[in-house]
């Protein structure tokens, strides 16, 4: 088990392992996605209050969890990169920033289109919405800082420091925004507390969609990490051989 974990820290082993693992992840993700989409959009019964509009929740809630969890994962990777100087951790952290930001945007976007028919407005300064918006800002900041450096190494370290500063700050921001929200009460009940009462016909497709979105997130960061490995290790023999091999495969197919 530990050996397996250590091996993941080596870019070459990460590449080889994901090569074997990717087809499975693709298969499982697309299976979950298709079942989740068909079930969630067509077969789940409409909500007794929100009608068919609630079907947006199937992409809204998973994207929110992934945006939050993705930042925590990025912070773990940044810490591993800072403390143990694991290069692979930084490669994954670099891959997470834009993907996590995109899921954050998806969460806000789907939320506001869900909110328009439900609350009559696209945007409310609700605590959770505001926190998510700030999370998006932090994602953008981390990615922008990394891109601003010419040197890959300095950019990695700077982004790691900012990511860790962000994870210390985000709970405080969340708390402050919560407090601010109770002060400036918006006056609408924004919670989805009825979730517990939802019948299985509604939450089983949510389960499928949740894992489908997680699969897409993982696919995206694995694919990005693999590209990054090819760029950073381009001078090594194994990457040269691999590219030669892939080129020949491509030529044969063409």
């Amino acid at each position: 088990m530990w050996q397996w974990f250590y091996k993941l820290g080596s870019p070459r082993h990460f590449y080889d392992m994901t090569t074997a693992f990717l087809p499975w992840l693709y298969g499982i993700t697309f299976f979950l996605l298709i079942v989740g989409l068909v079930w969630g959009l067509g077969f789940a019964p409409p909500d007794y209050q929100m009608g068919d509009n609630y079907r947006i929740v199937y992409i809204h809630v998973p994207s929110a969890s992934i945006a939050l969890g993705g930042y925590a994962m990025m912070a773990c990777m940044a810490a591993m990169h800072m403390i143990w100087k694991i290069k692979m951790a930084d490669i994954v952290a670099k891959a997470i920033a834009p993907v996590g930001g995109m899921f954050c945007a998806l969460c806000l976007f789907s939320g506001s289109f869900w909110g328009k028919p439900t609350w009559g407005t696209y945007w409310v300064w609700d605590a959770r919405i505001t926190s998510t918006l700030i999370l998006l800002f932090v994602y953008v900041g981390v990615a922008a800082l990394r891109n601003a450096f010419d040197s890959e190494n300095a950019g990695s370290k700077a982004a790691s420091v900012l990511t860790i500063v962000g994870i210390v700050n985000l709970p405080i921001i969340h708390y402050s925004v919560n407090w601010w929200n109770t002060l400036h009460q918006v006056g609408s009940d924004l919670s989805l507390q009825a979730e517990g009462a939802n019948p299985p016909e509604i939450w089983i497709p949510a389960f499928f969609m949740g894992f489908a979105l997680l699969g897409i997130f993982l696919l995206a960061i694995i694919l990005r990490s693999r590209n990054e490995i090819l760029v950073r290790e381009r001078r090594t023999q194994w990457v040269q051989d691999l590219l030669d091999h892939d080129l020949q495969e491509g030529l044969q197919r063409a």
Partner: protein
């Protein structure tokens, strides 16, 4: 077994009156999914092209060297 909740494709597309909200959200979702999966593939293709160009350049340089030596 769950059954299809809509009467025909027209009814399905109208989403009980929430067509705009639901389909715009799912369209953005589709964009995110496609971007997540296709963008790295384009990037990978670029890497392969770069590698190909470098190989050809090196091959060209080698040929020239052989010519000069003869």
């Amino acid at each position: 077994m769950p059954e299809f909740q809509f009467e025909g494709i027209q009814d399905f597309l109208s989403m009980g009156g929430y067509a705009f909200a639901v389909w715009v959200s799912y369209a953005f979702f589709a964009v995110v999914v496609l971007w997540s999966l296709i963008q790295p593939r384009i990037e990978r293709r670029k890497l392969l092209q770069l590698h190909k160009a470098r190989m050809q350049r090196e091959a060209g340089v080698n040929k020239q060297r052989i010519k000069e030596q003869n």
